[in-house]
Every structure is written in C-alpha cells, then in structure tokens.
C-alpha cells in the first residue's frame, strides 16, 4: 500500500502556497511511517508523474477556488475531484489535473483520491500566508489525518516538543 500526501502551490504567492504549508505542518505534527510519503509538489506539472505513479491513496492539499468564503476548507473524494478539465483551449496548460488525467490515460491513476482544499484570500506576491488562511492550516491537517484514519491508516502525533519552547 503506497500513500502519498501531496502539497501543491506556489510559496511565493501568499495563499497560493497553502497546500505546501499544510503538508509541511502535517510532517511537523505527525510521525510519518514507512509507506507514506509527504511530497512538496510546489508548482510542478509533469515532473510529478513519476512520484504519483503506482499510488494506492493520494491526498492532495491545495488552494481551491470553489466560490466559498476565504479560508473555507473543503474535502472532495473520489469522483468529486476534478481530474479532467473541461474548459481548456489547448493542452498547453499543465496542472495537477493534467497530471492526474495523464496517469488515467497511461492506465496508472491513484486507486483512491482525496482533495483537501482551502479557498484563498490573496494570491499576491509574498512568502507568508494571510492570517485568515494560515489559521485554517490545522483544519486541513486534521482533515487529511481523518481521511487517512478512515482508511485504516492512523498517524501518531509527534511528541509535543514544540510546546516546551
């Protein structure tokens, strides 16, 4: 059983990078056992095909535009995840959806797919999240952990050394 937790986004465009920040927060808060990989996918496109091949469970953490209030966390599973674009003028637009579609076409899609997204407030230049979205990172981490637990993959919290500081 191979599980990948993938954080994506651009960490120099403020809330655009929330997926990467959430993946790092998960890695900091929980022991990650063998068989589970936490990947900072950044802004990569087709480069992700290799790490995402042969995956049983893929949990994607990302900024999601779903016309909700900024900071709203949504969880989509299975067929709810927009694997296929419908509004493309050309194939020259690479995103995580294209990577998933390519995996589908190559006959090697993730067997199980979860998307945990957060509605961004700002996509302006900046290496920090806005306070509104930063406050929701723990909720994204908790949602990811809950999705894993529901599939029989419990994660153990790291010893709370951070609290001592």
């Amino acid at each position: 059983m191979r599980t990948v937790i993938l954080g994506i986004g651009n960490t120099i465009l403020s809330d655009e990078g929330v997926g990467v920040h959430a993946a790092e927060a998960l890695r900091a808060a929980y022991e990650v056992p063998a068989g589970i990989e936490v990947i900072d996918g950044g802004t990569a496109g087709m480069e992700l095909l290799d790490p995402l091949s042969g995956v049983d469970l893929l949990v994607v953490l990302d900024a999601v535009k779903a016309k909700r209030a900024p900071g709203t966390v949504i969880t989509l599973t299975g067929k709810e995840v927009p694997v296929f674009f419908r509004s493309k003028l050309s194939p020259h637009q690479v995103s995580i959806c294209d990577v998933l579609a390519s995996l589908e076409f190559a006959g090697d899609p993730p067997k199980d797919l979860v998307l945990i997204g957060c509605e961004p407030l700002s996509l302006e230049l900046g290496t920090e999240l806005t306070p509104t979205v930063a406050a929701k990172v723990p909720q994204m981490v908790a949602a990811a952990v809950a999705q894993l637990a529901a599939r029989g993959i419990p994660l153990t919290p790291r010893r709370a050394t951070a609290e001592a500081h």
Partner: protein, 566 residues
C-alpha cells in the same frame, strides 16, 4: 480594416499570456503579445542573503524550477569570482541536461503535438498499417502491430466513455489538421510511450537533486552531494550506474522515436516551414562548463544577426563582456515606469498599469534587447549557434533530421526551412539528441574524475564588505536565461531575472519593433477565426511559459478562456 482576434489566455489556467491579432484576407497582419501577470519576485529578494536566492527563485516557475536554481547560484558565484569544483560542475551539468531532455520530450509530445495531431482521426487508422509505416522509419521496439492495436482499443475506450480527458477541446476536425489517420495513431502511441520515458529523465534529476520537484542540492560554491566510491549513503557507484541505465533508455527514445516523429510531422506539414520565422536575430548562451572557472563549455553559444550564420559571434566565458554589456530591457510598452532601455544591473520594477493600449503600454513583460535589437532565444537559436560554431554532434543530428524530412516529403529540405514554426520543433528535437549524448559524456567525466581521487563538491563562499555585482546565465530548455545580482555587504541590493519567455514573448521595444512571438504570428494563415489553431501552433512552437506558475484547483470548471473574434 480587418478582424480582431483576442485569445486570452493562451498558456495557463490563470491567464498569463494574451495574444491579439489583426486578421485580414485570411492572414494575420499584426499581433500583440501581452503578459497578463505581474511578476515581482525580484522585490521578494531585496535585503536577503544571496546564498538563499536560488531556493526562492526556483519557485518562479512551475516547469523550469531547476534552471532558476542553477542560474541564481551562478550569478552569485560570478559576483564573488568563486570557482566551482569540477565534480559540482559535472553534477549540475547532469541535472541540467536531464531536465532539458525531460522538458523537450514533454513539450513535443504532451504540450504541442496535439496542435498537429488529430486524436479522434486516429480511431479511423488501420493499426497494422500504422505499425508497417513506423517500422519502415525506425528500429524502435514499441512500433509493433500488437502495440498499435492495443493503443487504438484504449483510445476507443476513452472516447466511448466520453472521457477524452487531457485531449478535451483539441481542435479536432479543424481544416488545418492534415495527418493521415495512421500517422495520428502512431503519434498517440508515442504520446503514451513518452509519458513513461520522460519519467526516467526525472529520476536522474531526483537522484542527483535530492528531491524533485525543486532540487535541494545546489549551493553557492558547488553542490551538497557527498561523493564516495564505496559508500551507500552517498552518491556512489550503484546510484551512478542506475543513472546510466536511465540515460541509455532516454537516448534510445530520443534518437529512434522523437527525432523521427518530428521529421514526419515536418514532412506532412511542409507548408509550415514558410510561416513563423519572426525575429531572426538568434541568441544562445554557452553552457555545460567543463572547468572550474567557466571558460570552457561543451555547448557553444553566441549571437547570429539576421539569419546569417556567417555573422556568428561567440560568447566565450562566464565573464564575456560581449554578453554582459549587450543586454538591456525597455519598458516603453510595459506596465512599468520609464521607457529608456536599462541594463539589468540598473533594472527597475516599478509598476505603472494603464490597461491594454495597443500603441502604448500593454504587457507586464519588459522588452529585452541585445545591442539594441530584439532576439529570438530557444532551441532554434541554440541549434543555429551550435551549427555556426561548427559543433559536430549538432551537425550530425541536424543533417539526419533534414534528410529524413526530405525523404518523406520527396523534396530537398534545407537548413533555411529551420527559420519557421516547424523548424523550432525540429531544432528542439535536434537539441534534445545532442543533449542526451552530452548527458552520457558528463556521466563519464564525473566517474573519471572521481576515479582520480577527487571527491570535492563545494568551495565555501566568503562575502566581502561593500558592493559587488555578478550575472549568471544558463542555456535553459526555452533558451537564454540570466540572473543579475547586486550585493551590498552580503545582502541583495538588486536582482533581475531576464528569462527566455521575456525575450520571446515581449511587447514592442523602445524602437517599436515587435518581439519574436509578435513577429512570428504576423504572417500566419487563419482558416477559421473562431478557432485560431494556426496562432496556437506558432506560439506553442516557442514552448511558451510565462514566468510564473499558479496552481489553484478550480472546482467550478467555468470556462475561463475566451476566443473573441469580431
């Protein structure tokens, strides 16, 4: 007065590149290329430690992360006049070349081929005839009739299931699509095989770069890989042998599939050797340094004026004044203050947005020039410069490609055909073949150097008091990339990135001369203004990538792209 077409965006989901065309009598008369996204990464870097710049700049772009990391450390090393150990050069060279091979394969098969290949037409193909055609062109083992039958079945399954997925909204059935069904089926088969092969290139990057995407192993002064000939915890013989295995698989595909497919598409679309030349001043920087100082390069670069290979002037070293003094950027038609061309060391990033003014400011991109002229960068510039420099491997693959096109088209196709839309695809394939051989050479050079007992990978930088400046360049997959840094007391005082897409996608310069995209679209035929496939073909041949990547997932699936023909 002709018809106006606006395509917005032409590249990515969040709208980074808008193309406007004036069409009259079935042809594009005039074009405008407009970068729709403000890129201010330079401002994030001010006041930071120059040793961290590479980690930040590699987030500029979603496709070319590695290239900004390499260029950034080279700029800082240049400012310090710091030498880089040979092993570090070889390791960086391996990463650069593996990334380039990856990028070229993905660009052709997964991003551009669909401008030429009609996927649904492949369903009408006879798979056995496809196999016979393929086997007459190449010894590649993936061309058998069982393979072609399986691909056709799989494609049928996708179409019947209503899930064309990545192929949705291709311009299927467009009158400018001309490949016979068998060639279309072959292209789909190789599209799938390329999906598998491109992963091998990425594996090389991840083994050497410690992580991919976004490599972690570069440092100002070298690389952080620990080398050893006998330990499993460092970069040792076992991992190097794995890398060699991947190089061999890539070489097989690039030479026996990619190069031939491009020649075949070129032969069927021979009319496209007449369109898309645009700006024919070509600029490429040398790369793949072979010494610690950056004075010897395996890949030559330089400047060619007005398509005359005889005018070639080489760029020789990392300190070559011909290069350093020649680059300027103008903002006359860009949404920044000022209009006087500025050297990147003096470059400014002060926004002044005016809305789209076709005779005024209309783009977030600046307009780079080389000695006051616009220049085309990218694989075509690279290949022409390598040919002009007498680079034998380039001559070999360029001749082979043109001979294959000539045989298939049953007419002699010469080097002049390269100054075109299809020529850019051919040049990319030739460049890829040269680079995959160079990858094997660099692997051997690294092993030989390690065998001599040299295991050094890093020279520690020391920052002096006061102001220093430096530039770093890299012949990235999309062309000449340069970073320019001014450092004051160990902190960044100014930073400018002059990227390949800026050279090619720029608006008119201070003398109102169009940039390469604008000039290259300006002669294209337009069969159907509502579906301007021809414009996409020419713009895509440059491998457009507007230097910033956004990765928001859109669950609404609202159509964000408009083609406005009025």
């Amino acid at each position: 007065m002709g018809q106006r077409i606006t395509i917005d965006p032409i590249t990515r989901i969040e709208g980074h590149l808008r193309i406007d065309c004036e069409v009259d009598g079935g042809k594009v008369k005039k074009a405008w290329s407009s970068g729709q996204m403000w890129r201010g990464v330079e401002l994030i870097l001010l006041g930071r430690d120059p040793r961290d710049a590479w980690a930040i700049t590699q987030r500029i772009c979603g496709v070319c992360t590695t290239v900004h990391a390499i260029t950034s450390v080279r700029a800082v090393e240049n400012a310090l006049q710091l030498e880089v150990p040979l092993n570090a050069q070889y390791i960086r060279n391996l990463i650069i070349l593996a990334h380039a091979v990856h990028d070229h394969i993905v660009h052709f098969y997964h991003l551009s081929a669909l401008d030429w290949v009609d996927v649904t037409s492949a369903l009408k193909a006879d798979p056995d005839a496809t196999s016979r055609l393929a086997e007459s062109l190449s010894t590649w083992q993936g061309n058998g009739k069982f393979e072609m039958r399986a691909v056709k079945e799989r494609l049928k399954g996708f179409v019947d299931g209503g899930q064309l997925g990545i192929f949705t909204n291709g311009y299927w059935g467009h009158p400018a699509m001309k490949l016979p069904p068998e060639v279309n089926l072959l292209a789909v088969a190789h599209y799938l095989q390329a999906l598998d092969v491109q992963r091998k290139a990425n594996k090389i990057v991840s083994i050497l770069g410690s992580k991919t995407p976004h490599i972690q192993n570069v440092a100002v002064g070298g690389v952080s890989n620990a080398l050893s000939t006998d330990s499993y915890s460092t970069l040792g013989v076992e991992r190097l042998l794995a890398i060699k295995g991947y190089i061999d698989e890539l070489a097989d595909f690039v030479k026996n599939v990619y190069l031939i497919d491009v020649a075949a598409v070129g032969a069927f679309y021979a009319d496209w050797t007449k369109y898309g030349a645009g700006v024919t001043n070509y600029l490429a920087v040398p790369d793949i340094p072979m010494d610690t100082k950056g004075t010897q390069f395996a890949l030559p670069g330089g400047y060619i004026a007005n398509k005359d290979l005889g005018s070639f002037k080489p760029i020789k070293t990392f300190n070559d004044e011909f290069w350093v003094k020649g680059v300027e950027e103008s903002a006359k038609h860009s949404w920044y203050e000022g209009s006087k061309p500025l050297h990147p060391y003096k470059g400014e990033t002060k926004p002044q947005y005016t809305d789209f003014k076709e005779d005024g400011k209309y783009s977030w991109l600046k307009s780079p020039t080389f000695y006051g002229k616009p220049a085309q960068v990218g694989p075509l510039a690279r290949v022409l410069c390598m040919l002009a420099a007498g680079h034998e491997p380039t001559k070999k693959y360029a001749t082979a490609a043109l001979d294959t096109v000539s045989a298939l088209a049953k007419t002699k196709v010469g080097l002049d055909a390269m100054h075109s839309t299809i020529g850019r695809h051919a040049a990319r394939a030739v460049s890829c073949a040269v680079q995959v051989d160079m990858l094997a050479d660099q692997w051997t050079a690294l092993l030989n150097n390690m065998a001599k007992g040299d295991l050094t990978t890093f020279n520690k930088p020391v920052f002096p008091k006061g102001e220093i400046m430096g530039q770093g360049y890299h012949e990235a997959p999309r062309g000449a990339l340069s970073h320019w840094v001014v450092i004051d007391n160990g902190k960044i005082k100014n930073y400018q990135c002059v990227v390949p897409s800026t050279w090619n996608a720029c608006p008119r310069n201070d003398k109102d001369e169009p940039g390469p995209y604008e000039a290259s679209i300006a002669d294209n035929p337009i069969a159907d203004p509502e579906r301007p496939l021809e414009v996409l073909r020419t713009v895509h041949s440059f491998d457009p990538c507007i230097a910033c990547a956004i990765h928001v997932t859109d669950t609404e699936n609202g159509s964000a792209i408009t083609v406005n023909a009025k």
